[in-house]
């Protein structure tokens, strides 16, 4: 029987010690750390603070207490919380903190696997003899992150990645939660199935439809049931729930996994011709190029989303001639794709450009016969200079002449921090 086979196999394996470290309210915490004047206020970090578009990317606990949620529109958040302080994201700062945290983790193990910018798994099995048990290492890391970076972190300690991640979600902020093998059933099984990594909203619904609401139910029903219902994925979920996840913590890989980088905007007035679309796209790709540069990635493809004023959305994608970070190259490819694909039936309300299929900056790639590598190098040099200027002086220090004064796009500039009334800046 399938069930018996899994359990026998597990007993032979050596028990591992896995930590999952999750920096609390990461973007908002970094902003509040760098500008302590923000600390007494509810703070939300919002993407594209344009008038019609911005969404909440992260918030601090004070904003959370007002009901502000990640992903909602800025105006909605402001309705819930009148003195909400809105700050734009500073990705290069987040990147610095992410790398600094990773450096601390690497003092304890070389097996560190990033999961987004603010989360990492650590396999410390080999270090427990040197530094004490998993909990002791976790407490030390928690203290060091607070002392050396000024941020708080929640850490889950367990014998597999799934429960370590679950543990880091149980107590926040600035806490350590252990889920040892002997006690995992009493800690994990009463929890809602949706608490477990892998159970998204769709899966949660499907599980609930057959009466599975807790991780315990998922674990104690026969695996064959889930195999029939969800196939391989169902077996994986059942294994997870039983503490039988064996996936490894990937060895050191200094780059943060970012799958795609996109930027969209809703035009202040509808766009009526290709020239207007071009200017918007060029503006959007400036931000994308900037992010690719900070993430140390190159894009291999482009995806565009176009929504017309009847709110119909269409999406297209195509490969780039070669992997690039260049804003102007991505813009040109996106615009070509747009011209090939969009039939002008209605004016356009919003445009999103996304750099997709990202590879590490230093991945070697095949040059194609007809492109001029010298020309590419020159363009990249220009882009790099622009990026260096922006890193030092901010996004608005330099921009394409045709982007000056675009009446249909709200400026990304303006005040860096919008303070509520009555707050000394």
């Amino acid at each position: 029987m399938l069930m018996k086979k899994f359990i026998e196999k597990d007993e032979k394996a050596m028990e591992r010690t896995i930590l999952h470290c999750d920096m609390n309210n990461f973007y908002a915490s970094v902003e509040c750390f760098l500008n302590p004047d923000l600390k007494p206020y509810p703070v939300a970090v919002c993407g594209s603070v344009e008038e019609r578009h911005g969404i909440v990317l992260a918030k601090n606990y004070k904003a959370k207490a007002c009901g502000v949620t990640t992903g909602e529109a800025v105006w909605q958040a402001q309705q819930k919380c009148r003195d909400l302080v809105i700050v734009p994201p500073h990705y290069e700062e987040y990147m610095k903190f992410s790398k600094a945290a990773r450096k601390i983790y690497e003092d304890y193990t070389d097996q560190v696997e990033a999961f987004g910018m603010d989360e990492c798994w650590l396999d410390v099995t080999g270090s427990v003899g040197i530094y004490g048990d998993g909990e002791k290492i976790a407490q030390e890391i928690r203290e060091r992150i607070k002392f050396e970076l000024g941020l708080t972190v929640s850490i889950g300690v367990s014998f597999n990645k799934i429960f370590a991640k679950l543990g880091s979600d149980l107590k926040k902020p600035d806490a350590v939660t252990c889920i040892p093998k002997e006690r995992f059933k009493e800690i994990v099984w009463p929890l809602a199935a949706s608490e477990m990594l892998g159970v998204g909203r769709a899966t949660e619904k499907k599980l609930a439809a057959c009466g599975v609401r807790t991780i315990g139910t998922l674990a104690t029903w026969p695996v064959e049931f889930f195999e029939k219902k969800f196939g391989k994925f169902g077996v994986a979920l059942w294994l997870f729930a039983n503490g039988l996840d064996e996936s490894r913590v990937a060895a050191a890989d200094a780059s943060v996994p970012v799958k795609s980088v996109g930027h969209g905007t809703t035009a202040l007035q509808d766009l009526e011709n290709a020239a207007e679309v071009w200017r918007i796209m060029l503006a959007l790709t400036q931000e994308i190029g900037h992010k690719l540069y900070t993430y140390e990635k190159r894009a291999c493809g482009v995806q565009i989303d176009v929504r017309d004023n009847k709110l119909f959305t269409k999406q297209w994608q195509c490969p780039l001639p070669h992997p690039t970070q260049s804003a102007s190259e991505i813009a040109r490819t996106a615009f070509d794709l747009f011209c090939r694909s969009y039939e002008w039936r209605n004016p356009i309300r919003s445009v999103t450009v996304r750099a997709i299929n990202l590879t590490a900056q230093n991945t070697p790639y095949q040059l194609d016969l007809f492109c001029d590598p010298l020309h590419t190098e020159k363009t990249e040099k220009i882009d790099r200079t622009v990026e260096d200027l922006r890193l030092r002086f901010g996004m608005d220090i330099i921009r394409n002449a045709c982007l000056l004064d675009n009446p249909k796009m709200s400026s990304g500039g303006g005040p860096q921090v919008i303070m509520p009334t009555g707050v000394p800046t």
Partner: protein, 86 residues
């Protein structure tokens, strides 16, 4: 009682790069141009300043018999925490 506020003040630093690779601050110039001598470095370790929002290597230095913190950021800029008197 109102909490003391602090501001971040970047300073010019005179430092000794020792043969063992250790960087030792010897003195600094405050924003008003006044020069100060560092009598002794007591301690140096990574730390964050939550008062002014900065982090790096924190040097505990003795200036005129008084202990102060001097931070060196990752990009080798040095700062200190200065109380703001209202």
């Amino acid at each position: 009682m109102a909490e003391t506020k602090y501001r971040k003040v970047y300073v010019d630093v005179f430092a000794l790069m020792r043969q063992d690779g250790m960087l030792l601050p010897k003195g600094f110039i405050w924003e008003d141009g006044a020069k100060y001598k560092i009598d002794r470095v007591r301690h140096a370790a990574p730390a964050a300043s939550t008062k002014v929002g900065g982090r790096g290597i924190r040097y505990t230095v003795v200036i005129g018999g008084q202990e102060q913190y001097l931070y060196r950021e990752e990009d080798d800029r040095w700062f200190m925490e200065a109380p703001v008197y209202q």
